[in-house]
């Protein structure tokens, strides 16, 4: 018997049966197809696809840019979250609402508009060009796109944690003679490290898999500005299903591991991350 205990409520078999069926058809079966196609391959086939020079260059680029973007978001996202949680100022509600823009805006739109703004002829790209910086069509552009889509993860993770800080701790620190900076670095920041780490990891995970907003601004030069997601699509376009599947499996394994560690982190400091975008 699957069911434990007794409830007077009806509908157990129907709802569980339907959920399981729908889950199997829409999610599990397609993922199983990925595993099945890999199992048809020989080890040499798999290895030559995933350890290919171009594939390795794409992993390096993707991991490096996603980490740089998540780090940028950890710093500025923290600042934004701090202002939203602690201060009352004109425009605060607008600031709060606009944080969700990257969640709501289709990635293709953010991709083309970031390219337009930050390419050498664009509004901000022209300024950067004068300063000798090239953003669009370089790894810096990829980082920018990943900063854009990762920002809400950090802000929405950290702001509630800042609000939850117990005021008495700060008062105690202040009354014991700690300055404001010392209170922040020694008392507040350590309490916020778990949520900041989780926000960083979520933004990093999102950056690793991001496709739409990155491909327009990246330039997509093999070995230089080609992210792993794009390499998978390129292999598919060439009907090289074996290579596409192998590289996808590496990526899938990486993001599962990452999200598993995020879940462990979260269950330790249990707090559901706000919103599910």
């Amino acid at each position: 018997m699957l069911r434990k205990g007794h409830s007077v409520l009806p509908g157990f078999g129907l709802t569980l049966g339907y959920s399981t069926l729908y889950l199997s058809l829409i999610v599990l079966l397609p993922l199983a197809a990925l595993a099945a196609s890999v199992s048809h391959m020989t080890w040499e086939q798999f290895w030559s696809a995933v350890a290919d020079e171009r594939a390795i260059a794409s992993y390096r680029l993707t991991v490096f840019t996603a980490a740089a973007a998540a780090a940028t978001n950890a710093v500025f996202g923290f600042t934004v979250a701090w202002c939203l949680a602690r201060y009352r100022f004109p425009g605060r509600r607008w600031m709060d609402a606009v944080i969700d823009l990257p969640f709501a805006l289709p990635t293709a739109v953010s991709g083309i508009v970031l390219t337009a703004v930050y390419s050498p002829g664009g509004w901000l790209g022209a300024w950067a060009a004068k300063a000798g910086l090239k953003i669009a069509y370089t790894p810096a552009g990829i980082v920018l796109a990943m900063v854009f889509i990762g920002l809400p993860f950090v802000v929405r993770m950290v702001a509630p944690a800042i609000e939850d800080l117990d005021p008495e701790i700060e008062e105690a620190a202040a009354s014991l003679g700690a300055g404001r900076l010392r209170t922040f670095t020694h008392v507040l920041l350590p309490a916020l490290v778990p949520s900041l780490t989780t926000g960083f990891a979520l933004a990093f995970a999102r950056g690793l898999g991001e496709y739409g907003s990155v491909i327009f601004i990246a330039g997509n030069m093999p070995m230089h500005t080609e992210i792993t997601s794009l390499l998978i699509v390129t292999k598919l376009d060439q009907y090289d299903y074996a290579a596409a599947t192998s590289i996808a499996l590496v990526m899938l394994a990486a993001s599962f591991l990452l999200l598993l560690s995020i879940n462990l982190l979260q269950s330790r400091y249990s707090r559901r991350y706000g919103g599910s975008w």
Partner: protein, 278 residues
């Protein structure tokens, strides 16, 4: 009184935050509309009312119209099973529901190509019978169902767990049948959260790019959703056209954010009311 930073420090931090958000979010947001209207309102209108744009819009709405009821049905069923009963494998089920969030967009499309592409067993059989899934509309719908899968269930499960089942048990004990209990007791208490989950899922359905791009094959007018149409126009160097279509999607995104904020307010209020009553 909670200690706080000196006034100048607060001002510096707020300015830093505002400058960062302006560079990353606000300037691009404004640029969508400026670029779309660069050649004037008449060209904008022509781009927006172009036959290919309308086709893409219709496919996008069609896909969302299939995905939303299925998401609502699955979300409610899963939440009812998980939040109202104890059974073996419950934690596994909850974990598996989140799975699509861990899969990157391109891979979400790839798995359907591997399952149903014409080179596969199932896909080959379907093709013999004249059914095309991959590089056709059904593929776009399936990929959308995959990427929007967790949203509603994720909102409803924690809410219904928190609410508990006393009221529903009372209704059933007093002789109401299951459907009646759900409609009269459960639904009024979860409607805002249900709508919230659907709004998030809908935004994703309409905006999804990577997964849909992989399964669509980019056939103009037949498997082209709005985001894919943006890409096609952009790659044809029709930047004004691409931004005109993008501006439609941006307006939709802004509307989503507005509705989301209203629903968050409604949910806070109904939670406060429930606490007041309890």
């Amino acid at each position: 009184m909670r200690p706080t930073e000196p006034r100048w420090m607060r001002a510096v931090l707020i300015c830093c935050a505002a400058a960062f958000l302006t560079l990353v979010l606000l300037v691009p947001l404004a640029a969508v509309f400026v670029e779309a209207l660069r050649k004037g309102a008449a060209v904008y209108w022509r781009n927006v009312s172009d036959a290919a744009t309308i086709d893409a819009l219709l496919l996008t709405l069609f896909t969302a119209a299939i995905a939303m009821p299925l998401n609502a049905l699955f979300g409610v069923a899963a939440a009812w099973a998980v939040a109202r009963f104890d059974f073996r494998g419950k934690n596994l089920l909850v974990t598996l529901i989140d799975l699509p969030f861990a899969v990157s967009p391109v891979i979400s499309g790839l798995v359907f190509v591997l399952l149903l592409g014409s080179h596969t067993l199932v896909g080959g059989w379907l093709a013999e019978h004249g059914v095309r899934v991959i590089f056709a509309v059904p593929g776009v719908v399936l990929a959308t169902l995959f990427v929007t899968f967790p949203y509603v269930a994720r909102e409803l499960i924690p809410l219904m767990q928190e609410q508990g089942s006393e009221d529903e048990q009372a209704a059933v004990t007093l002789g109401a049948n299951g459907w009646h209990t759900f409609r009269r007791v459960t639904l009024p208490r979860i409607r805002w959260a249900l709508l919230y989950g659907l709004i998030l899922a809908n935004a994703r359905a309409i905006g999804e790019f990577g997964a849909v791009s992989v399964v669509s094959g980019h056939i103009r007018g037949s498997t082209n959703t709005l985001p894919l149409h943006v890409e096609i126009l952009y790659n044809e160097y029709n930047s004004t056209g691409a931004f005109a279509v993008a501006s439609l999607l941006t307006l939709f995104a802004l509307a989503t954010i507005a509705v989301k904020n209203i629903l968050e307010w409604k949910m806070r209020r109904s939670r406060a009311a429930a606490e007041g009553r309890g």
